[in-house]
Symmetry: C2
Subunit: 405 residues, 2 copies
């Protein structure tokens, strides 16, 4: 399945088709993906999870990456809280959270990036994302286990994160005078998702932070492109490769984070903006020749500097599944359904590994698997199960009212 | 030219064939590569060189990377000193050196990694390579321009570098207690090359440093593989992806740096070691399916974590050209000649761009160009012209005594 088939005017799906799709997502999630992590990731000696798992689930490196530990805590807490109260899911989540609380906190309150199997710190990034994912883990586990103390800890960590959002120098990265005044899209988008996760229905308390992040995110969108870097007032630096960098999957993910805030607030213009970001980033990132979403692009058509720019990674496809289905559920535009089915077809044809479970993470431009591992320093129990779970839930709702406007 | 042709027993080259090859290298160097950089790289406003040049030589980013500024100074100083006293080559080299001396030095004596076009510092790495390439530039320009003051400055910079070799914490990178006790191959190999360049015939003065670096380098070689990371006493960490990482092009480059020291010292066992490293790394890295040298490998056959592991980069092929021809010139083993001709065939079929000059830098596994630029943050006027120049010189020597044992 190399080239894209010619696009047909997409038919609106019928209830039976939606139900069949829902079953497909359900099987993939609960029979392939979740069992892989339940079976292979637990470190029964030190707690937490091995995240470097090869194709068959064997550990090929004992290093524990904090992003992935925290995200797995979040995922199993979420499944326990929202899907089924299997005690083993809560226990597995708890094991990761205890490991993080015992080992991931630096003396200065920052969070490490990587730990040894027994919890010794290896590396600390000069970025705020370890803190963000730790806080998400705390917040969701608080909900799953009914422990308000953990929710308090999550809110305290968000306060620390917010200081770094307002003053990036607090991450410890020195700013030299020639460094371009560019800020990463990742910060407002991840913080928006974090507040969404952390605040739950109590989101009104975070209105100033949410408004700030939405404002920052808007700065990155110009001429139908969501730039990875923009100045604090939206200045673009189109003379720099960094200033022209696009990451369609990242943009699509930012789009659905925004869409959730738009829906919560009943903010129609924000819904429109989120929809524009998702659709335009998807159309820009889709590889007309080989199918799938390209990893990086240069806004003006130069070769991106990133060596891996033309690879097809699992997570942009996961994010596109969620974003397009969310958009379709909201607006029922057949063009979004066509996009969703296109990325669903590509993803399910290329990424799953029926032999051993879970998805491959990395394909070359032609869609051939280049890396056989299921878990690595940036791939763990997160994007695949989150997307499958969210789509499964959305498909269930759609199946129950397929013709809803 | 996809798959490798079947290997024939290589014939020893005749003088006429050597002369024809020499002409091919000469034309590539002086009619395609050097004119590209002379024409497109000079910054006539601020001095120094633009190193982000697209396929046709247009600047697509004004950022100046110090490694590449310094290496271009080195290259043009070398050509002036060793090939032809064209005043424009000395002027071009001088422009880069002045730019570096005016802008690349931090107040604490360290050297920045990236500068704006007008010389404002953008970024400083927590590594010692900017210093190494700056010192190489100083040393070679001292020779080209007959300025002993510059040679002194190079030696002073080597003294600073040496402090960082002995105490890596001086690069500013914090060492956390769980960080594996692994040291990078890059440090002893680059410092060996730096001392080779800097000391010239006066190398006896640096014997302790050279011995130290050779000792360190030996630690990385085990079971026919030169590991990118090894402990300070040669401990391997085969449980870690980092500890299993191989970079065949890097190993081959280290091999010829070592070979030069072996030849200088008349050290036969060291020659043997260097030859083993070069041949075994080449044979390990060669892609039997599509030809060319793979970028990264895992010593135990796992998927390397690096997303770009299966790409074919210009510089490993440049290093292999030099190393194999040097080895052949020394030992006249037809198997080395076969390897040389194999990589020469691949490189000249895939990398040069006759339309605009210079070489492409990045191919996918199948050998298709993935990035059209000629210069980027890590590709400048260095590996291609250095390799063409060294091979051209070696081929000339071989042509004059082809049957020399």
């Amino acid at each position: 399945m190399c080239a894209s088939p010619p696009r047909k005017a997409a038919a609106m799906p019928e209830a039976r088709a939606l139900q069949a799709l829902k079953t497909e997502f359900e099987n993939e999630l609960f029979e392939s993906v979740i069992p892989f992590w339940e079976r292979h990731s637990p470190d029964r000696t030190h707690g937490g999870y091995f995240n470097h798992l090869d194709r068959a689930g064997q550990v090929y490196d004992p290093t524990k990456n904090v992003w992935l530990q925290a995200r797995q805590v979040w995922m199993f807490s979420k499944l326990y809280h929202e899907v089924a109260q299997h005690p083993r899911w809560l226990t597995l989540a708890r094991s990761g959270l205890d490991f993080l609380r015992d080992h991931a906190l630096a003396p200065d309150g920052r969070v490490y990036f990587a730990l040894t199997a027994d919890g010794q710190p290896i590396y600390q990034q000069r970025k705020l994302f370890s803190e963000c994912f730790f806080a998400m883990a705390l917040a969701e586990h608080a909900r799953a286990s009914g422990a308000p103390r953990l929710a308090q800890a999550a809110r305290a960590m968000l306060a620390t994160i917010w200081e770094m959002v307002l003053d990036p120098a607090k991450t410890g990265r020195p700013a030299l005078p020639g460094a371009p005044a560019l800020l990463p899209l990742a910060v407002p988008m991840i913080v928006l998702n974090l507040i969404d996760e952390l605040a739950g229905d109590d989101f009104a308390a975070y209105q100033p932070q949410v408004d700030f992040c939405i404002g920052r995110l808007r700065h990155h969108f110009a001429g139908g492109k969501l730039y990875e870097y923009a100045g604090p007032s939206g200045e673009l630096r189109l003379d720099l490769a960094q200033g022209r960098l696009l990451n369609p999957g990242h943009a699509i993910e930012a789009g659905w984070f925004l869409l959730r805030w738009a829906a919560r607030r009943g903010d129609a213009p924000l819904t429109q903006l989120a929809g524009d970001i998702i659709r335009q980033s998807f159309d820009l990132g889709w590889d007309a020749e080989h199918g799938g979403l390209l990893y990086f692009l240069d806004a003006e058509g130069q070769s991106p500097i990133q060596l891996e720019w033309d690879m097809k990674l699992w997570w942009p496809h996961c994010e596109a599944l969620v974003a397009l289905l969310m958009l379709y559920a909201l607006e029922r535009d057949p063009a979004d359904w066509e996009r969703f089915m296109r990325v669903k077809g590509y993803a399910f044809a290329h990424f799953p590994d029926p032999a051993h479970g879970e998805w491959f993470g990395y394909l070359n431009r032609r869609g051939e698997v280049t890396h056989t591992f299921k878990g690595g320093p940036y791939k763990g129990c997160f994007h695949v199960p989150r997307a499958l779970w969210l789509c499964w839930r959305l498909l269930g709702r759609l199946a129950s009212r397929p013709a809803d406007p």
